[in-house]
């Protein structure tokens, strides 16, 4: 009895802590996860769901650092950097993935330089889209995903 009460109290504490933590997160963030965009099966649909438009301007001020041939489609290291004035976010789309929107990175004071590792189902164009002052800028690179031999 004593034990279970202690456990209960502990559980309560943890829950309270979590709530306190969650409420300290910016409201905007919790509201902003765009399920529709992340679940869209076509890149244009995902873009429309996310930005309200799929129209982008090609820009050479965005740089993608990614392999031409991925060693393993499950772990493709990529970096995106850009020098577009007033950039608010950088988003990554992989055209041939089942759900093309991979992730969106919101630069709330952060610099235009992010890195992560992504999954790619097959050979595809990877698009980096930068939103700045209400406009969308994009560049892309093809990444080949091949069937491995024996690997590593």
């Amino acid at each position: 009895m004593n034990l279970s009460r202690r456990m209960f109290a502990k559980g309560m504490l943890a829950t309270t802590a979590m709530f306190a933590f969650a409420s300290s997160l910016p409201k905007a963030l919790l509201a902003a996860y765009n399920k529709e965009a992340f679940e869209s099966n076509k890149m244009a649909d995902a873009m429309k769901a996310y930005y309200g438009t799929a129209e982008t301007t090609e820009s050479d001020q965005i740089k993608i650092t990614a392999p031409n041939i991925a060693e393993n489609g499950a772990v493709v290291p990529i970096s995106i950097s850009s020098e577009i004035d007033g950039a608010e976010s950088i988003s990554i789309f992989v055209e041939n993935n089942p759900t093309p929107l991979i992730g969106s990175f919101i630069l709330l004071g952060a610099k235009q330089n992010i890195s992560t590792r992504i999954k790619m189902a097959k050979t595809s164009n990877l698009y980096a889209v930068v939103k700045a002052k209400g406009k969308l800028y994009a560049t892309h690179q093809e990444i080949k995903v091949t069937i491995g031999g024996c690997g590593g």
Partner: protein, 277 residues
Amino acid sequence: MKYLILTWALLLTSAVAFAADVNPEQDRQAYQKHFTEAFKEVPLKEFTNGVYAIDPEGRAQWEAIEEFPPYEIAIEKGETEWNTPFANGKTYQSCFKWPVAEGLRQHYPYFDAERKMVVTLERALNECREANGEEAFGWKKGKLVDLSAYVSFQSRGKLIKVQIEGADAKAAYAEGKQFYYAKRGQLNMSCADCHIYNAGNNVRADVLSPGLGHPSHFPVYRSKWDAMGSLHRRFGGCNNNIRAKPFKAQGKEYSNLEFFLTYMSNGLPYNGPGARK
């Protein structure tokens, strides 16, 4: 009884006669010479990076992963395990005469003359558990491999220096060597076919890695596995690739193979754990 003694005597003489032909040091020099000549631009030490010593496209991706490699999670978990006492209050350290901070990996594999068998680091760790009344962990992945990752990390930079002394050790080495060069499986290929004679060539999109340095960086986080795995797990994968039935991890075959293969890389530094595609 008489027969038994006779058989033993015969076996012993044949083992000795066999061992007389075994010259590991000569083998090692020839082996290393082959790779340094085949890949003139690659410094000897670089071979510990496997395929990334010779494949620039793969190397760039590997370096990006090394920025914050997933095996760090394994090292951390292994450290916690290492520092957690057994039920009897003793620790892993009590089983080893060398402090872990100075590295243990460089003392393995070794030939235990009394038991007439190759003892790998993973075996020593599990035997330590059993000696202290704990159950052994699985050999190929999970907790034992985390532990091995932590221990191996402490040995980074220490040189590989496998020793082969006595007829029995030489026999184990010779068996490992024969295994390495023997063709197996439905594809009729040997370890050497891929990792010596075709190192640097492609199997589909994969560049075959040079055999020199292979055992230096295990255990590895392999993207294909999405997890950590031991050297013997990888051996099993290779055998399966050539459609040969894999042997048991830590069995005689793979232990002797590890003994031979590690000896071939004597003089190179340990750099495990590693990250591979």
